[in-house]
Symmetry: C2
Subunit: 347 residues, 2 copies
């Protein structure tokens, strides 16, 4: 089968590799219908040191079950399924709390344990917990497939930001970052009833989609100027919730500066820093709350599927380019150059 | 009148100073019935550089209104009143949000703007917002006075920690620190329904009061050993909420290590650091929430007064030593030596 392997910064290849096989009785093998490239895949694309054996890539998958291990009970051959970007048992106390990304028995794709999902076939561990069937939909229902795929990561990561910030009707929400996750956070904040949604971003094609999804204001300025713009929009008070979908330190600092006293900063951009300001001058003095983390999309996916199928939301619009799997290297380059917002991959 | 002035580390004096006078039409003059010494007063007691003019001290006050400016409408001469440790208008958007400690028109005592409250008389700015009358109680109702005084800071600071952590019935709560605020946080967590309350502290007389107030476990160990003890008590999962009432970095690090995935760390100990770990390894990876700040006790005080008067809570038990104002320097020394948990001052 074909799979995506990264050999170093800027060096992504699609190669023939052995088909995956059932290794544990709880595994399933899934044939890819749609996969995609994530903004987080660009981190190694920028920085990975050359490697002779390479690193398999991808963690987003909509597919059809091909085979199940003897202990799998909740999905069967032929089911259309979504694979959340982390696998988990979905039964332990941590999963029952709704934080499946930290399941002590689970893990992540494209790691030593499990291959990446930008491939024709994938082995899914703990399939009962890690796959969610989409009843009544087949792989021929083309228009709905992109939005279903976003439930494996990008849309529900944006939703997690808004959920952890406890966005409520009437609130003012600022979204930092106009990437696919930031735009998803706009859509989620709107679903949760935010009245004013300020999108901080400067890429017009992207912010236009943000406006369609509910952003009431777009602030292209950054730093001091951006902060002043947000404060001006909010009567000098700042934003009840700030959804941070970037992960770099300037975005963190911008976030606490535009937050209202007593407000919440909710991060879903993986922080590219370990230490940051949390003392009197940054968070403590104004009773700011800092929250967020890797999105446990598994916790939200069953509620989101009907929203997609009924057309309430169409998060698949973040995909502005579609390519066959052979062209995945060009997809990385297009996202890196910001020629593509997010690349959908067919097989 | 007598007032408390600090001239440098370890150098506190009670001196005769001019009586305060009404400076603004919204001011009130309050005669002290009870005041006290705060753990935070020990920070300058340790570190203040020698000063020839000195620094007035104190921010906790139960007193009787002596005089009001012409624009004061909600309190009158003769009222027994509690002064929250920050003054505020209590009408602006920030105050209405419940964060009066950040009121843009307010401020703190013992600053350039306003003298400290360890004195016989005090000028209270914005008296309508900054004083809360206690109807039906007089300064002769001695037994209830200490608990009423705790509503100006210590008890409601502990309450703020539990409130911001959204402690709910059935949860496990860990309190870091067995000072007066930490013990108050135990009492507040119990009021909010916490089922398991783990108090991390090593001063037996203090932790005994914590147990009376609801602590189900006391963990005297610190560092790795303390973390392992808490994890053992919580089936390896950690605590839903961690109430941090210390303010030093080791307490911060201990807090995120004993928090359950998806849990909350709520700080009310003023952080003696500005930067700290917030990235994947500390907060982000396990979706931990960090919250807290200077307690807006003004927001909670009206609900707490009946709890005190009905005897539901007796937070005044944190006072284990009572001294007249002339002995305040000895009170600082006793708290610094941990001979006293918290010193109540009479005038």
């Amino acid at each position: 089968m074909k799979a995506t392997i990264m050999y170093g910064a800027g060096d992504v290849r699609v190669e023939e590799v052995a088909d995956p096989v059932i290794q544990h009785p709880t595994d399933a093998i899934v044939r890819t219908v749609r996969t995609c490239i994530c903004g987080s895949d660009l981190h190694p694309y920028h920085s990975m040191r050359p490697s002779s054996h390479g690193q398999s890539m991808g963690h987003e998958l909509l597919g059809v079950v091909e085979e199940t291990g003897p202990e799998v009970t909740t999905v069967k051959k032929g089911d259309l399924v979504i694979a959340p970007f982390a696998w988990s048992d979905n039964t332990c106390p941590t999963c029952r709390d709704g934080f499946q990304t930290a399941c002590p028995h689970g893990g992540f794709y494209a790691t030593r344990q499990t291959a990446g999902l930008q491939a024709e076939l994938s082995r899914i561990p703990l399939a009962d917990g890690s796959l969610v069937p989409v009843p009544g939909v087949t792989e021929d229902d083309t228009p709905v497939l992109p939005s279903l795929l976003t439930l494996s990561d990008v849309y529900l990561t944006g939703y997690h930001a808004a959920f952890m910030a406890r966005v409520r009707p009437g609130q003012t929400v600022t979204v930092v970052g106009d990437g696919a996750v930031g735009l998803s956070a706009v859509l989620a904040a709107k679903q949760l009833g935010a009245e004013t949604i300020i999108l901080m971003g400067r890429h017009r094609a992207r912010t236009d989609l943000g406006v369609e999804w509910g952003a009431t204001h777009v602030v292209p300025e950054r730093g001091d100027e951006g902060v002043q713009r947000v404060l001006a929009i909010t009567d000098g008070l700042g934003s009840h919730a700030v959804l941070e979908a970037v992960g770099h330190m300037p975005a963190y600092e911008q976030s606490y500066r535009v937050a209202r006293t007593g407000g919440v900063i909710s991060r879903v951009g993986v922080p590219q820093y370990e230490e940051a300001g949390v003392g009197f001058r940054s968070l403590f003095g104004r009773n700011l709350t800092l929250t967020g983390g890797p999105a446990p999309v598994r916790a939200y996916i069953e509620d989101a599927i009907p929203q997609v199928l009924e057309g309430t939301i169409e998060p698949g619009r973040v995909f502005d380019v579609t390519m066959p799997i052979d062209d995945v290297p060009a997809g990385y380059a297009a996202m890196d150059a910001r020629d593509a917002l997010k690349v959908l991959v067919t097989v």
